[in-house]
């Protein structure tokens, strides 16, 4: 699993050029929608994400097999009309497991990313707005977390808490906190100098109100873009932890775990390996495309 980082994607600072505290008006929304439709990657990405979301929600209801129907007599059967993706070593329907796995992966991605966003943004907000020692302290914490080899830290955290999907989620959320923290901090530093914030300060507005009514909404866009991209990373990381046996527990059909369960059958029954892997890739691809597209739309520099 490679990356707990997100930096390498080009993130030119998307500081709004005009002093508009809020996005307003239907025409603006309309324009946003039009530029969304213009970005091929956003549309394709959103399409993929939508499909996976649908699969996760209604897919399991349409299946003929349960994801944990063990049948020792039809183990490692090749794909057929009955078992579209074949069966695994316990004779379970791989298709049913892959479909059910979508739910798990989206779940993990959503909660891990939400967790990192909430904690990271809060810390970043505090660091950026109040500055001084609080900034130093929080920034150091981010530095420390970033200096850790991400996956090793996640492994250690899961070892400490015990292997389970929930704990893997916590671990992933923790290692991704600094990404959002730093992003939020830099946004706050930029927005802080904007006229409307200075004005609000001048008329004696309370810090908390400034933070939540002016600064937070204006920092939201890059966080959402980053969140979409991190969703992809979280899915891969969860699969990696599952692959090491540190994530989902049996019989949960988590994709990474399916891969580690069946890696010994790669030669004799490759379908047990190909489909869960493709499922991960497809999901990650969807979120990556969507994130890229959103960034292109929302980044004024790329609009041209």
């Amino acid at each position: 699993m490679s990356a707990n980082t997100t930096m390498p994607t080009p993130t030119p600072s998307p500081v709004p050029k005009k002093n508009e505290p809020k996005i307003e008006g239907t025409s603006r929304l309309h324009e946003g929608w039009r530029s969304f439709l213009k970005s091929k990657s956003a549309v394709i990405g959103a399409g993929i994400v939508l499909v996976i979301l649908l699969i996760a929600i209604i897919g399991p209801m349409l299946l003929t097999f349960g994801y944990n129907e063990v049948d020792a007599n039809s183990r490692l059967a090749a794909p057929s009309a009955e078992h579209w993706f074949g069966t695994d070593d316990l004779g379970r329907d791989v298709f049913a497991r892959v479909i059910n796995g979508a739910r798990i992966s989206l779940w993990v991605g959503f909660f891990a990313v939400s967790g990192s966003i909430v904690v990271g943004s809060l810390l970043g907000l505090l660091a950026g707005y109040y500055g001084r020692w609080l900034d130093v302290l929080i920034s150091r914490i981010f530095d420390i977390l970033l200096a850790f080899p991400g996956i090793l830290l996640a492994i250690a955290i899961v070892a400490m808490l015990g292997p389970s999907l929930k704990n893997a989620m916590y671990a992933i959320a923790i290692i991704n906190v600094p990404t959002f923290g730093r992003l939020m901090r830099s946004r706050v530093l930029a927005v802080k100098q904007e006229d409307f914030v200075l004005a609000a300060k001048a008329i004696g507005m309370k810090d908390r109100r400034i933070l939540f009514t002016h600064i937070l909404p204006n920092s939201w866009t890059p966080i959402m873009v980053q969140g979409t991209l991190n969703f992809a990373i979280a899915v891969i990381e969860a699969a990696g932890l599952g692959f090491l046996g540190l994530g989902a527990q049996p019989p949960e059909p988590e994709w990474g775990k399916m891969l580690s369960d069946c890696r010994q059958y790669i030669q004799s029954a490759p379908w047990t390996m190909i489909f869960p892997g493709l499922a991960i890739m497809f999901t990650v691809l969807g979120f990556n495309l969507l994130g890229d597209g959103l960034r292109d739309i929302l980044d004024p520099r790329m609009k041209q």
Binding site: N68, E69, V70, A72, R75, L76, D89, L90, G91, A159, G162, P163, G245, L246, Q249, P250, P251, D261, R263, Q264, Y265, I266, Q267, S268
Partner: protein
């Protein structure tokens, strides 16, 4: 920086590399004599056999050192090793060993009675200046502790003359000879130990068939032929390399492509592929192990009730486990120990797979509607259980049919030991690999009430039966094999009826090797990895 130039250089380099590849891709590697590469799952921890408890470490030391007595080639009975012959006194407390003459350690020093005494003193006496380099765990297990401990069974080891060693025991120990034959009690060179007692783990010196050459951590250990080995004409191989490759499938790939000659830890499902490949051969080791499901009888769950435990016994389809997790490389377990150990009770009948009976028993116990149960399964593969979680999944689906709803909980091995040792589980999958081929080593260790002490209980069923305890203690003190056999047979019946476990299977691990590898004693339950006679004949 001239990018164009560097691109050209880059392309040129690739070209050079690829021509190197083509040139040396199929190099004949057998140029340096008969070299055997044994692929295995993990690296050695130490080369001082007295310090280790894991099979991977002992696998290597067995070929560097010798023990006083050895296991026979066919079974686990004992035959002469460094000791040519031995006798025991009437009260079974004094054992006298006559050593082979003219044996030399690999560093040129003489093997003699003093050397034996020196090694035993080093192991047993915590105050000995050479009691260093580790904890000497196996000595403590097999001889009841160390010098000065209450249970320590060896009173004295002394050299009667140059070639005679005498052991005096505090009380007779049934499995004494079998213990002495175990690879941790191999005799190392006193000269080497005196030089650096901690260094023995890195630079081993014994009397064995191979001498140590080099160790690349987590990669390879290379041994070369001991030309002065005391068994004339052996070993046949010039070099042995133990290569650690953690991934079973990758190891198998390496075997198929000829990168290695022998592999253990074959994935059961790959056995079929081996059989189809004319260049490869497959051996099943007679497993001296048991995999079981232990009910925690100390916890307040329905399994406190004997009827429930019996019902759950009836509801486990062992054949299905063997088929789907072991791919046939296992036999169903009836008793807590395999039938390769003497004392195995053939008359005990197993609970058959019978869901109706199970339901009936559950109804009688008042759990007609079933109940919930937490089942622990280890997340790491063990020698007796290649995939604990999959075993748990099969049991989960079996028990669901009688209304018992299993929640599988899984931990890595260290956490697992910790939690089960403290009795935090409701039920747990576990197993045991025998050390010396004695029934005591299974029944007493795993099921006697003496071993229910937390936090490191060996008996994780917390099964406390007084009648069983009486049998086991009596058998431990006796040296009369017939009497012991009767006692152990009785013990197995008591256990079957009380059903503290579901004995699952005895694994028969597969070893795959190139067909040109000859005379490997691969089926031996204990010494399948001793390479004295092994040969390569292409």
């Amino acid at each position: 920086m001239n990018m164009r130039k560097s691109t050209v250089i880059g392309l040129a380099l690739i070209f050079v590399f690829s021509s190197v590849l083509v040139a040396c891709g199929s190099k004949d590697a057998s140029s340096n004599g008969k070299t055997l590469i044994w692929g295995r799952g993990a690296d050695t921890k130490s080369l001082d056999p007295a310090q280790v408890t894991d099979g991977e470490s002992l696998k290597v030391t067995k070929n560097i050192y010798d023990t006083l007595v050895d296991y026979k080639e066919e079974n686990t009975e004992v035959e002469p090793g460094l000791a040519e012959s031995w006798e025991t006194s009437k009260d079974q407390k004094t054992w006298t060993f006559h050593l082979k003459k003219g044996v030399k350690f690999q560093d040129g020093s003489d093997f003699n009675a003093e050397a034996v005494v020196f090694n035993f003193e080093r192991w047993m006496d915590k105050k000995n200046p050479y009691h260093k380099g580790g904890e000497f765990p196996y000595y403590g297990y097999m001889f009841g502790g160390y010098k000065g401990d209450k249970g320590h069974v060896i009173n004295e080891v002394k050299a009667v003359d140059e070639n005679t060693v005498q052991f005096t025991l505090k009380e007779p120990q049934g499995p004494f000879l079998a213990n002495i034959a175990m690879p941790p009690f191999a005799i190392a060179s006193p000269k080497a130990i005196k030089k650096d007692p901690e260094g023995l783990g890195k630079h081993p010196v014994g009397t064995g068939p191979f001498t140590f050459e080099k160790w690349k951590k987590n990669d390879t250990i290379t041994l070369k032929k001991n030309k002065d080995y005391w068994k004339k004409g052996f070993p046949k191989l010039d070099k042995v390399i133990f290569k650690s490759m953690p991934d079973n499938s990758a190891r198998f790939t390496a075997l198929q492509s000829g990168e290695i000659d022998v592999m253990d830890g074959l994935n059961p499902d790959d056995a079929k592929t081996v059989k189809q490949n004319s260049k490869l051969k497959l051996s099943e080791q007679q497993g001296m192990n048991v995999a079981y499901l232990a009910f925690n009888m100390d916890k307040d769950t329905p399994v406190k009730d004997k009827k429930v435990r019996q019902a759950l016994n009836y509801a486990v389809d062992k054949q299905s486990i063997i088929k789907s997790v072991y791919a046939g490389l296992a036999t169903p377990a009836i008793n807590p120990m395999p039938d390769s150990i003497w004392g195995f009770n053939k008359n005990v009948k197993d609970y058959s797979f019978d869901l109706e009976k199970a339901k009936k028993l559950l109804k009688e116990a008042g759990y007609e509607k079933g109940f919930k149960l937490e089942l622990y399964a280890p997340s790491d593969p063990r020698p007796y259980m290649p995939d604990g979680r999959k075993v748990a999944e099969v049991i989960q689906s079996d028990w669901k049919k009688i209304g018992v709803d299993v929640k599988i909980v899984s931990y890595d091995w260290q956490t697992y030991l910790d939690r089960t040792g403290k009795g935090q589980h409701e039920a747990a999958l576990f197993g045991w690999s025998g050390d010396n081929g004695d029934p005591d080593n299974f029944l007493y260790v795993l099921l006697d009430k003496d071993n229910t002490r937390t936090p490191d209980a060996g008996n994780i069923s917390f099964y406390k039966s007084d009648s069983l305890h009486k049998d086991l203690i009596k058998a431990q003190r006796s040296t009369d094999k017939n009497e012991r056999t009767k006692l152990y047979e009785d013990a197995q019946e008591i256990i079957k009826d009380d059903a503290p476990w579901v004995p699952l299977v005895h694994a028969t691990p597969g070893i795959a090797y190139q067909s040109y590898v000859k005379n490997g004693n691969f089926t031996h339950p204990l010494n399948n990895d001793k390479l004295v006679k092994m040969d390569i004949q292409k």
